[in-house]
């Protein structure tokens, strides 16, 4: 029964990997496969000698790390806060609203971000001007140095609520006896959070952090692509944008394939390293 589907997955997932040999050729569209010129590792040499490649690597790592660190911290803080709410209705409503943005597309989110940051009537500029921090509206999306942080902030805006769910589940699993004992020992709410809740969910924090390290080279592509513009492109260019602009648009198909291989192989290595680390810490996950 499942055989046709296995053939399906082999076609759609494994044949592209066979396509990796493109990277060792100087592929020219229209020629048959056997007539393509073989160039060995020339495409990879090109890649490692391209200054843009290092820029792409820097951007990808920077944005991944910003997203990872702020994403995790904000989600933990939100989970701790939601856990302290005693009004059930308010708790449920706030939670439901908090993970709504997770389900909208990046196209929509990018539109909202652009509007919020716009120079004519964007809410951020308006508020900053009202409290007299700035006099003239700032074109936030045109400042290269700000781009990483805008990506980080919009990532947090979109995912903070969704990310908090897993920590809330971990908090719910904490043994109530611990809290009771802490109360008897004279701990207030803050101290209970600090001495009971946080240490209890610490293992899950570490594991999620380690597991996410496997995805450091895949900081996403949609949000960068949708929010970038000519002025900030040197800070916005991530791997997929690089493949699109320097590979497909310039018809350097073999070169773009080489970029893809580099990313895939390093990612694979990172994922296995992360899994290994997680296992060493006594957690069985996935592989």
């Amino acid at each position: 029964m499942s055989v046709p589907f296995v053939i399906h997955v082999i076609i759609f997932k494994y044949i592209p990997i066979w396509g990796w040999i493109l990277a060792f050729q100087n592929y020219w569209p229209g020629k048959s496969f056997f007539k393509q010129a073989w160039v060995g590792f020339a495409n990879f040499k090109w890649l490692f000698n391209d200054p843009v490649f290092y820029q792409v690597l820097r951007n990808t790592l920077a944005m991944s790390i910003i997203q990872l660190v702020f994403g995790i911290i904000s989600s933990i803080v939100l989970a701790l806060i939601i856990n302290e709410v005693r009004l059930v209705v308010f708790k449920k409503t706030a939670q439901t609203i908090s993970y709504l943005p997770h389900f909208i597309s990046w196209v929509v989110a990018a539109n909202l971000v652009r509007d919020a940051l716009s120079t004519d009537g964007g809410i951020v500029n308006e508020l900053l001007m009202k409290v007299n921090i700035i006099k003239e509206p700032i074109m936030f999306l045109g400042i290269p140095q700000l781009f990483w942080w805008i990506i980080g902030a919009s990532h947090v805006w979109k995912e903070v609520g969704w990310g908090a769910i897993i920590y809330l589940a971990a908090i719910a699993a904490v043994d109530p006896n611990l809290y009771e004992a802490a109360t008897i020992d004279g701990a207030g709410r803050l101290r209970r959070i600090w001495h009971v809740t946080i240490p209890s969910i610490q293992p899950i924090i570490v594991i999620l952090l380690v597991m996410n390290m496997g995805y450091l080279l895949s900081s996403g592509f949609e949000q960068q692509y949708l929010l970038q513009n000519g002025r900030v492109i040197d800070y916005a260019r991530v791997f997929t944008i690089y493949e699109l602009d320097y590979g497909i648009k310039m018809m350097r198909y073999s070169f773009a394939t080489a970029v893809g291989i580099f990313r895939s192989v390093v990612s694979l290595f990172l994922v296995f390293a992360a899994n290994y680390l997680a296992k060493r810490m006594g957690q069985e996950r996935l592989l």
Binding site: M1, S2, F5, H8, V9, F12, K13, I15, P16, I17, W18, G19, L22, L78, I81, E84, V85, A94, I97, S98, Y99, L100, F103, I104, S105, V107, V108, N111, L112, R114, D115, G121, I123, E126, W157, V160, I165, I166, A169, G188, R189, L190, E222, L226, E243, L244, G247, I248, Y253, A256, T257, V259, R263, S264, S267, L268, V271, F272, R285, L287
Partner: protein
């Protein structure tokens, strides 16, 4: 003793205050962009350009919606979006469940091998170009089925459903077999009904992912306007933001000349954003428990 209790009560109050303030702030920050866009979409375009629209339209108009929804381009894109979402959800959920069932049968000899073939795909990826060439060689460029076929069975969904099936009591399947039911009958009559909760969650995730997707349209179907999707149309409007360069903006501006109505890129973007977001926003409150259910399901992969 008394003093410390007083201090405790004060600490409680401060903490409550901080907690509620932060949460209210979060709710506002989350909802404001949506409500603002909604207000702009219902406001007269030229009036919006003056700024100062926040949560409520100042000069109410339906012109933005009328001019967008009557364009066959948008209408057609909406149709394609709905169609791909519905078909993908049906086909993907059913196929994934079917494979998950076979891979859950202990007597199936190739179970380990097939599982491995699927799980490996979570970690390796051919990359942009080889995928593109594959799709092109299969004749799936400028083809509606590129929206449905490539992602028919994905490893993550497969593992989630398989884990669920393994958790079902084995005796149910055995007794059906004793009664003479074939594998396919067991699958459709017993497994599928029992898996309803997990299938609902997976179906929702597939539906949302399909509704939100634009990159496949961009890569494979961008030269055929008949296969465009709503997200892709919105993306094009976003890319040409602040200039009247996109074909849609020009067409709309032309349609508006000579009338008292005008439309601006900002108004187009806001209106498109609302059109694209509404389906998700409408089903979301009713289905959100299934969504959250899905996340906890993902946690028991092992």
């Amino acid at each position: 003793m008394k003093k410390s209790r007083k201090r405790r009560a004060k600490e409680d109050l401060i903490l409550d205050f901080v907690v509620y303030t932060i949460l209210i702030f979060l709710v506002i920050v989350t909802l404001y962009p949506f409500l603002n866009t909604l207000a702009v979409s219902f406001n007269d375009a030229l009036d919006s350009a003056k700024g100062g629209i926040h949560l409520w339209p100042r000069k109410f108009t339906l012109y933005n919606y009328r001019s967008l929804l009557t364009r066959s381009q948008i209408f057609h894109a909406a149709l394609v979006s709905v169609l791909r979402t519905v078909l993908s959800t049906l086909f993907c959920t059913f196929s994934t469940a079917m494979v998950a069932y076979t891979l859950s049968r202990k007597e199936f000899v190739l179970r380990k091998l097939f599982s491995f073939i699927y799980i490996l795909t979570m970690y390796i990826d051919g990359g942009l170009i080889p995928n593109y060439f594959l799709i092109r060689n299969l004749g799936l460029t400028n083809n509606f089925w590129v929206y449905v076929l490539p992602g028919l069975v994905t490893a993550f969904n497969l593992i989630v459903i398989r884990t669920y099936i393994i958790g079902l009591p084995e005796s149910l399947i055995e007794s059906a077999r004793v009664d003479g039911a074939g594998e396919f009958t067991i699958f459709t009559r017993i497994i599928l009904p029992l898996c309803k909760p997990v299938l609902a969650t997976i179906a929702l995730f597939i539906a949302v992912a399909n509704w939100n997707s634009w990159f496949d349209t961009f890569l494979y179907n961008s030269s055929n306007p008949k296969l465009s999707t709503l997200q892709y149309e919105l993306m094009k409007v976003l890319q040409s933001a602040n200039t009247m360069t996109g074909s849609l903006e020009q067409a709309l501006a032309q349609a508006a000349t000579g009338t008292t109505n005008t439309i601006t890129p900002r108004a187009i973007r806001a209106t498109m954003t609302v059109i694209v977001t509404v389906p998700i926003a409408v089903v979301y409150p009713f289905l959100q428990r299934y969504f959250v259910h899905g996340l906890t399901l993902g946690g028991i992969k092992e």
